[in-house]
Amino acid sequence: MCRRFGDSLLAWRAVASDPDFQAVLGAARGGEGWALAELYRALYPRIVRYLRVVEPTEAEDLASDTWLDLAHGLERFRGDEAGLRAFAFTIAQRRLLDLRRRRSRRRTEPRELRGLIQGAPIGDVEEEALSSLGTDWAITLITSSLTAEQADVVLLRVIGDLDVEAVAKIIGKRPGTVRVLHHRALRRLARILHREGVTR
């Protein structure tokens, strides 16, 4: 598994092998602070990043709730580190859906999520692409040029570091559908970047 995405992944090296992970998990279930901290550093930044992209205004609250749900559910969890990551993102996804359901019941005005990304250079992709390939720009490119499903799949796979099966369970689709979605997403990104003249 690739370990070069983000400093937070260094935390996973401590729990990389399954016996080590199971030891950390067991200690975390027993309420050991150091073990919970290991899991927190490995999981929480990814969850926050994902939620900041898909629900910027409520990301912190959703992430906190997700973490507490995860801590509460540790006793019931059985699996490896990838399974725990999928478990965490499943909780995050459910929290996200709950929030959107509550919001729809309150009949608030729907807002365009893609427009809420701070500093998003929407509408000027070419100029931004030529000047910077920063994180915000990359996220904006994905969220503004792909369909919601395609963007969700790509973000879960890249930010969540989840495999196809885990993403399929989280979004409630079949693995084959997930593969089709991210295949189309990458081709679409390639087309856009080529058209905008940033392809070498």
């Binding site: 070069r4 983000g6 390939l133 990359a138 990458l186």
Partner: protein, 258 residues
């Protein structure tokens, strides 16, 4: 939007296999090593993976503390409680399901015995009970076999009055009707009632009847009416005496004296 076919040949030939896609999404493909047309895609995906604001762990202390509290005191108790609750819930569901099934069986059997189920259901229940020796009317066993038959009886029978009504009713209900079997017939009843009244039958006249029925109290009225009508009221009495009214015993089964 530019169609895929409008892109250069180099792009059109570009096909990504699943393995390459997985490596791109996992950040294992450096931009320079990416397939043609995908170097910038690889760069974008790496940028997304590095999406950090540096403040993700700002609340680590408080989050860990709350998690420790949750894990230490909340989880085991709630877990066993949840298990117990789930177990009880299963038992409860089974009980309710059993009651529903029993209720449906008893209810449908009763309705079948009464013969009021829809034809298809009635036939099905009837067949089932026939096999175990219990007779339940089938849908074709309706007491009134046809309107024509009942109508035929009504128009051809020699019976009259109560007897005719009883015969028709009996035919229409398949013998279940008890019309005309209890109590006296209307004529009989009327006769009894007439006997009870202190007037002769047949009645001989309005004034006389009123006089007799009132025990002579109607004299004043008769006289008054006679006076007020200059003797015309006696005409009516006279007419009545000539053609005495026939009491409508069928319409008034029992006569009650005032």
């Amino acid at each position: 939007m530019t169609d895929w076919n409008d892109l250069p040949e180099e792009m059109r030939k570009l096909q990504l296999d699943p393995g390459t896609i997985d490596r791109l999404l996992a950040g294992e493909v450096e931009p320079d090593d990416a397939p043609p047309g995908y170097s910038e895609v690889a760069r974008v995906l790496q940028a997304v993976a590095w999406a950090r604001h540096g403040d993700e762990l700002a609340h680590e202390g408080s989050h860990i503390a709350v998690a420790m509290e949750l894990v230490k005191k909340g989880t085991p108790a709630s877990t066993s409680s949840d298990r117990r609750s789930r177990k009880m819930s299963r038992i409860h569901r089974l009980k309710v399901g059993g009651l529903v099934v029993v209720g449906a069986l008893v209810g449908s059997t009763g309705l079948a015995a009464a013969g009021v189920l829809p034809d298809a259901a009635q036939d099905a229940v009837s067949n089932v009970f026939d096999r175990v020796g219990i007779t339940i009317p089938a849908s074709g066993d309706h007491p009134a076999t046809s309107g024509d038959e009942v109508s035929g009886i009504a128009t051809t029978t020699d019976a009259t009055g109560v007897d005719k009504g009883a015969e028709i009713s009996s035919a229409a209900s398949g013998g279940m009707s008890q019309a005309g079997q209890h109590g006296a017939g209307a004529a009989e009843s009327g006769a009894e009632g007439a006997d009870a009244a202190p007037v002769p039958i047949p009645n001989e006249g309005g004034t006389g009847t009123a006089d007799t029925a009132s025990g002579g109290a109607s004299d004043a009225g008769t006289t008054t009416a006679d006076t007020e009508s200059d003797g015309h009221s006696s005409e009516g009495s006279g007419n009545a005496s000539v053609e005495p009214p026939v009491p409508d015993v069928a319409a008034v089964p029992t006569a009650h004296a005032p």
